[in-house]
Symmetry: none
Subunit: 211 residues, 4 copies
Amino acid sequence: MRSRFEGSVPGSANSRTFIETARRQQLIDAAVATVNELGYHRASLAEIAKRARIAKSAVVYYFSAKEALLLELVETVFAALDEQVVAAVDGVSEPAARLQAYADAYLAHVDVHRQAVAAAVEIAVSHRTAEGTPLYLVADDADTALLRSILRAGMDEGTFRSMPIEVATGLTESVLDHAITLVQRHPGADLGELRAQVVPYLLRALRAQDD
Amino acid sequence: MRSRFEGSVPGSANSRTFIETARRQQLIDAAVATVNELGYHRASLAEIAKRARIAKSAVVYYFSAKEALLLELVETVFAALDEQVVAAVDGVSEPAARLQAYADAYLAHVDVHRQAVAAAVEIAVSHRTAEGTPLYLVADDADTALLRSILRAGMDEGTFRSMPIEVATGLTESVLDHAITLVQRHPGADLGELRAQVVPYLLRALRAQDD
Amino acid sequence: MRSRFEGSVPGSANSRTFIETARRQQLIDAAVATVNELGYHRASLAEIAKRARIAKSAVVYYFSAKEALLLELVETVFAALDEQVVAAVDGVSEPAARLQAYADAYLAHVDVHRQAVAAAVEIAVSHRTAEGTPLYLVADDADTALLRSILRAGMDEGTFRSMPIEVATGLTESVLDHAITLVQRHPGADLGELRAQVVPYLLRALRAQDD
Amino acid sequence: MRSRFEGSVPGSANSRTFIETARRQQLIDAAVATVNELGYHRASLAEIAKRARIAKSAVVYYFSAKEALLLELVETVFAALDEQVVAAVDGVSEPAARLQAYADAYLAHVDVHRQAVAAAVEIAVSHRTAEGTPLYLVADDADTALLRSILRAGMDEGTFRSMPIEVATGLTESVLDHAITLVQRHPGADLGELRAQVVPYLLRALRAQDD
DNA sequence: TATGAATGAGTATTCATTCAT
DNA sequence: TATGAATGAATACTCATTCAT
């Protein structure tokens, strides 16, 4: 919807120059660092700009507003997480195996991109739009849908214990998100043990057989 | 264990008059309402004072600073939760039964005091001191210790599967905290199904027998 | 619609303290001076506050926003002008005499309150609401209605020449507003000659007899 | 008589290339559109450039500054108005006829070039130099001189009533400028009635005979 | 000839806090 | 015990201008 002629405000994604793309990434990185260091609440334009070694107004030059920068950060991070997870379950058909692939990919991504994920989650949890509504829905939906479909398939098949799908999905997400909580609280934490335990933990919690 | 931030005006805890105690509670209630309505970010002194039908400066009179009010809120809420949970497990000796008592009490408290718990958690997650450090440690510790001891006892006994105690504790907490996430996102949510499912879910995930 | 409990923001008009009323007037005076000196465009909160020898934030303390201050200025000025004019025509029944009373009162008010009127008109002409619409309607309507009714009565009666009422009203207003233009351009101008000439000028332009 | 603000880049008026002249006109047109659409206050370089489908910095390339563009706009518009009016009265010798020619030409020009005139007047009224002085003198003088000379001649001759020349000139201008006010407030207004009424209105107001 | 990049000064507004009463 | 008054620092954002290319 944007015209090429809107002053010097950078254009749409497909018309980005090299330097613009680089600057936008640099600013997203700076925002990640700022949010992790100071928290969402104190992550002001000034602090982000300082970390990017750039003027405050340059941030607004590349992103039309602080909100746009943070939202792009969130979107980027969750899109990457989603992509990795979707790729991991692709081609796997057994529900239990799919859940395992899903969880492994999810935790691996959180482990490797912990700073970005920690910042994105802090923003998603803290940010409210101008009208006051939080962001809970913006980024998580595709992700949730996939997980829900895996669990539903497992229940239908009899591999997973029958239980309300929302409860099963929510608890599974909570278990996986523990990795995020962990890296938020201890940025250098070793997730090895957690990654080793989570899938069996989930499978035991969900499986149907005996008892 | 009172926080360092509590403020010395108008008097120490043991010298509080009746009216002062009432005012402090009134302000904490107002803060809960404000945080739930507007979010931590927009929960200003002015908004809190408005809901308490009191002047902004009176808030500072009873609590030395906004931060002291919020921290007392957090402490109060987690102390009450802790108290209920401790009372529930008291006298129960079998680890599995203790876990069940713990979880049931925890979820019941969250269910009944959802507004207060939701606000306290939002503050605990969002607030940072002037130096930028988060609050993760202030309130949760006693709680975590009890849960950890239950799990450790269960593992020692052979009821619970052997696994790194931090992982087991963290995952259990994450599962329980799903209830909080739920009421934060949907203040009117019915926790019945969740409360019915969580204990069996945890026991399956943790139990030692077969496989 | 305002509650008594909205932080320390001053309450509704009937609950104003002495000091508050004084401050509001002082700020309106400062705004008049600023607009006349620098123009609407450069009349920033900082400049207004400087002239009132008060902090910028105090302006916002008494008026919730810059716009509210300027709009109150405009309203106050036009209400006073309107009141004077209405009082002047009250009890006069002949259209020509009513027009004379109207014009004399109008010009006298502009003459005496030239700074305030000049500022109010500059604001009314320059200000746009957030949506971009100007203020043309906010203040002038009651005034215009009275003038229109006088002219219509004169035409019905045969004293004034028949012509489209909007044209007659608009031209008469333009003639009267010349006094405002004059004091805007030359703040110290002597309006004596103009005031002596305007009524006969208007009556000649409007009267029905001969030709 | 070119303004001091015109800027020396890229060349003086007599050395302008064809493309440069075209660009300058294009930018003036864009400025007219912008001022009419958004008002002087929000007519930023970025908005003007957007409407000219050109980069912001190109505006500064052709005009040394935003101010130079706006001032040239004002000058251009009033020069054209002046030219039309001068041509209309040229060869007419009777003061009343000259006034009629003057007024008709003035109103016709305003009617036909209403966008440009509305924008120029809004700028002339709103703009202040860095020191805070308005533009009232920049464009209007030649115009006023002609009108004044017509009225003076009419008074000397006895056709127009004797009155202070500044008053007569000012009132006449105010009457004529009502057309501008009208098109500013209602860009699509039909000026037919007004144009039909103004000249007789003025002649009645000014004429000497009877009383 | 024209532009994208970048900036510094300025804008209105928010807000926790101080203080005299 | 409680408050209204006042403020300074911080906030996101705007904008004319500069400059290398």
